[in-house]
Symmetry: C2
Subunit: 224 residues, 2 copies
């Protein structure tokens, strides 16, 4: 984990998925006082918002829902006319149609505005470079450059971007989450956002593979 | 002017004030194909939005209005309960209550999402370090760090942040704008956003001082 110090006020980007929820439980374990930012960017899987709210409420964490419109984004997550790819080869390095241009750049810029306003000293993000469809805004070099930029653009300096999962695989994240007591049954990953996970989109495939490789049942699928 | 190359598709952050409007006229002169981003962040001077739209329409430029909510921002520009300071000593280096935490960080992050989506190669911003109330997100070092960060966070690399006014004073900007034929009567600067400029807020004071030092009348004030 990168540059952690306990009991500081922090902002966490919370999507309601496994990564951000595990990050939240980890931050709580380390004694951070969290406020959550939840993003409504008109995503196809709006259902993840309810998961994020549920997780925040379960942990008595203040949260804001930031609404935004990205009408220009040609992404399968924001335009219903673009198909979510099914059963993709996850080892392929090309960027899939679910990529939303600048998503984490925007999320982090909101987070720094929020963090400076409430005098938080760090921003937690559940980004990890592996098993994240190769999105460039999930990589360590981006996060470090962003941390440097945001601290030049605000009055109060010294806000840290903390990404404790950055080097982990999805398998390691599920394993960590299990140890931390993450209620996986309340998290949501599927890009389609229907009643049940589709089990064919990248997000479902990464999740299923992680649980399977640990010999675990995903409690979300057991609800079916 | 910094690393300009003609006829590339570009995004411009357009507030409807003198700085962004002069930047727009400069970019048009240099042959850029512009799309404008106009921000509705629930600012007190919402009137500037109409100025920005007017300027975009006058120049046949496509524009998007990005709406956002920054409920946490304790700024005189977003909270009516906080007073806009009047007749402030403009040479003082303290940050006034009109500072909106992370504003240009958020604007630029939207701009990069937009720019990557429409395959634009640059983002124009009318930031300048002098005569801008000392806001840290108007400085060259921030803009350079932000350019580096955003290019690490997107797929298509090489988007430039172009800030041709960065080293200019407001006086020099008005002078430049006059030469470019900027219709100052359609621009809006006053933080209060009432029918007529208050002539007491920082933004009015900087504007008045610039016109006065050039021996010019501000056509906006002549309308009164």
């Amino acid at each position: 984990m990168r540059r952690l110090s306990r009991e500081t006020k922090s902002v966490i980007l919370l999507s309601g998925g496994i990564d951000s929820t595990t990050t939240l439980y980890l931050a709580i374990k380390y004694g951070y006082r969290l406020s959550a930012l939840i993003f409504d960017y008109n995503q196809r899987h709006k259902k993840e918002l309810y998961a994020a709210i549920k997780i925040a409420k379960l942990n008595n964490i203040n949260y804001y829902i930031a609404k935004m419109s990205l009408p220009w984004a040609c992404s399968a997550l924001t335009k219903k006319s673009i198909r979510v790819p099914f059963n993709r080869n996850l080892s392929k390095k090309d960027i899939p149609s679910t990529y939303v241009p600048g998503r984490n750049i925007i999320f982090l810029s909101y987070a720094v505005s929020f963090a400076e306003s409430i005098r938080a000293e760090s921003i937690f993000i559940g980004a990890h470079a592996q098993d994240s469809s190769g999105y460039p805004d999930c990589r360590q070099d981006f996060l470090e450059a962003m941390e440097r930029a945001i601290n030049l653009g605000i009055v109060k300096k010294g806000i840290q971007i903390v990404s404790p999962l950055i080097d982990k695989t999805k398998k390691e994240i599920v394993e960590l989450g299990k140890g931390l007591g993450v209620p996986f049954e309340y998290t949501w990953s599927c890009y389609l956002g229907r009643q049940y996970p589709c089990q064919r989109c990248d997000s479902c495939l990464f999740r299923m593979k992680a649980f399977k490789s640990l010999g675990l049942e995903d409690p979300l699928l057991q609800q079916k």
